[in-house]
Symmetry: D2
Subunit: 149 residues, 4 copies
């Protein structure tokens, strides 16, 4: 199995996650193919991401917000109207100016998608990416440690 | 014909409008019934409304924005993926603290929906509705006059 | 109080509803004004409507679906990211070829919006409105009776 | 420069594309950060994709549709309300049971995002992925040749 394959398999495993949020697929989330539109999977990832980033006591320093720099989304199964979707989120990696979140979207035990998101910190005044301050890096590292325990 | 019937008939007539914007129905705007989801009609009305309100030199005073207090939407025909939708917007009425916009959504000559929206001015600091200042009322009255010429 | 005023007051009262669904406002439901976009209120109404119409054992005969002919939406309060929204739905009126649903959107005890929707039955082959068959009218009348008990 | 870096640089270059579609960012596409929500970038990619796949005479055999198996999205610049977005789409690779599209989202000369999408063919009856029939592979190969001319 390749490294990418191993990572995706791990992200598709419910036991990889401690932090969970959930969504329910709306009628308007479906498209003319009858299933949940693919862009809504990105929305579900965002729901987990913002809960993780703003819910853990609020990780962004005042005047800063998180923006996404890269999204990789692997679609594994269809979702349908009314499905309850559980979203697991974990920290995969931490760099000097960005960090990577891993996610899985589940309907019951079935993994509908996995995702990796590279996040950066945006200065809301200049609208530009900023280095991660040391306090934020420490809190993210703690979250990563907890997630790996 | 009732007064409401007359008003709807007039809103369904392209010649009622001088101010136009347009949209194209996206694939993701459709739902599992195969056509454009009904809430997207409200989005199309919003597209016309914000172009009318913020495009005419920007009608809102600094620190204020427009919010919608009431929406009446009459659905007349389905829209499908890829349809080009033209949106006519006009001022129907002007009160002391609110005003009413009339709209028609058209695919070619076919009217797909008509709408009336009651708009109020929101103070962005207090998040509360505010009386319409005299300068705004004058500009809206001018727009109404132009629209009736 | 006018009749419309009385109706809106009643729709804004939680005790008017026996049928409930709920939604949570997503990050992507917000717009640049910082609150939940107005068209999402129409989506929340739809969530309640389809649960009421397709959940009660499925009210539509095979080959038919419900489509909305008219929506009246009264906005009473802002909603924000993460708000849990409870949606009450009831039957307000029943005609020969259409029926009217009344709805309230609540955040706790606070009513954020009320809505009335005129619904028609669509023949999925011809894509045209159809008369309500007698069995459907009876089931809707039963639901209305239950709702008024 | 790495291979991934070269590929992204190429996707960010307008001259890589012959097939274009366009969108305009709606008011409702923005979120509380004031800019176009990240999931809408996925919607813009879809707009280009479906135009490419269903517009070129309709590439899917009867009873089949295309579904996305993987999306990689690199965000390079913010988009705002009202921005006109041009979407270039090209074929990057062609396998036995899937193919890869490359895309760029542009506001004028500025590249706002690049994307790669792995697409599979879905049998609409079984809702399962299917091998690409030879006629489809030939037409895709022709499109790829044209795109590389």
């Amino acid at each position: 199995m390749t490294e990418i394959g191993r990572r995706q398999a791990s992200l598709a495993d419910r036991s990889s996650y401690r932090f969970w949020t959930d969504e329910r697929a709306r009628y308007s989330d479906t498209d003319r193919q009858g299933h949940v539109n693919n862009a809504v999977f990105a929305t579900f990832c965002e729901s987990g991401r913002v809960a993780f980033l703003y819910g853990n006591g609020g990780l962004a320093p005042p005047g800063y917000g998180f923006v996404i720099a890269r999204l990789e989304l692997d679609f594994r199964a269809e979702l349908g109207w009314g499905d309850r979707v559980e979203i697991g989120t974990t920290l995969l990696g931490l760099g000097r100016s960005s960090f990577t979140l891993g996610q899985g979207l589940f309907r019951g035990d079935r993994c509908a998608a996995t995702a990796e998101s590279v996040m950066v910190l945006m200065d809301e005044t200049t609208r530009r990416a900023s280095h991660l301050p040391e306090t934020l890096r420490r809190r993210l590292a703690e979250l990563a440690d907890e997630a790996m325990d």
